[in-house]
Subunit: 235 residues, 2 copies
Amino acid sequence: MTTVDGPIDLTVPQPALLFDLDGTLVDSVYQHVIAWQEALSECGIALSVWRIHRRIGMSGGLFLQALQRETGTVLDDATLSRLTDLHAEFYLRRAAGVVPLPGARELIATLHDRAVPFAIATSGARRTAMTAIGLLGIPEGVPIVTRDLVERAKPDPHLFLAAAHLLQIEPRHCFVVGDSIWDLLAAQRAGALGVGLLSGGYGREELEAAGAYRVYNDPADMLSHLEEVGVRPRR
Amino acid sequence: MTTVDGPIDLTVPQPALLFDLDGTLVDSVYQHVIAWQEALSECGIALSVWRIHRRIGMSGGLFLQALQRETGTVLDDATLSRLTDLHAEFYLRRAAGVVPLPGARELIATLHDRAVPFAIATSGARRTAMTAIGLLGIPEGVPIVTRDLVERAKPDPHLFLAAAHLLQIEPRHCFVVGDSIWDLLAAQRAGALGVGLLSGGYGREELEAAGAYRVYNDPADMLSHLEEVGVRPRR
């Protein structure tokens, strides 16, 4: 038998949060879906809209690879690059209709107030992400990792690994918060826990099957359950 | 012990199919979603887009009831009626972009060719449904039941009961084919079996939990598995 005299001193840091952007903090998934459909249609490619929805949030390169399989076509580099440009153009045309999801600004303000480290990591390109980020009231110093900054996007772990690196917190002490299965698969690959939000239009069961530790409706719902991910009230 | 001398004569009719329209036969769900969002925004009501998506296919009256709960507002009759009109107006503006789902026209032609009875039953109003129905090549004599013709829409069973009645086939010998949980709940209430399609953007598990006997990607996928619902090749 071994007894100890005093409390056992463990160094377990407060968890950090790594947020996806589209469908997680801003209500922009459906605008991205329609922008992709318009871009594809402009290039003469027919793809059912639900199949586009299910790919939002994954790397653009992987999306275009899936697209070629699902439409049974091989697209040349010029078309692939034109699709990417058209998507950005059509999305930005709709960006005025994009608003923060309920509770997103309050969640960010609360985390900042409680000194909880957090970052944003999105598969989106800088040119489309920055208009959405501008809506959120993100404090100085919060790392923002966009597609352009890493070699591979979700479901590869690079975006979340980069965000954790910038926060100087090990991924295993991070919660990834995202609306798509690509976020949750990338979280698993990064060695972080995943929290799913329904606000991107996926079903609860899909997010759980992809590894979500908890699933909330949207940022407002997550904000009212912050203790479930170990975020404590301000002392 | 009882033995019988010959085959047992049972009267079990060939199954009939009762199809939902939006998201099941035509790729129109996302256009409906965006049209509702625009209508709500025009009336100064903010609602996350995923919450609209999850209500598509249910009765408009029930949708507006859910809307009032989810936005915490009480809307007067004039606003409710204006929302309905604006939705129809904004949807019809986008209707040119609506196409049949892959395999929908072929599925309908195949059922007609094999003399399988089928009907269409939609929560949509006649004015928005008819443009979509026109894309499908529906043969003479196929019953089409729209919202205007029955007292209550999905998840109440009236639309499917009316369709079965017009086909003169008991509901228990019908398969309801739909993309939303409202179709599948209405199928259960009608005493029919439900088949789910992923083409409206719901997840497989949601459809199964709502009672789907089988789930297919879209009409093309269902067409290549028709034997699973007991539809036989032409003799």
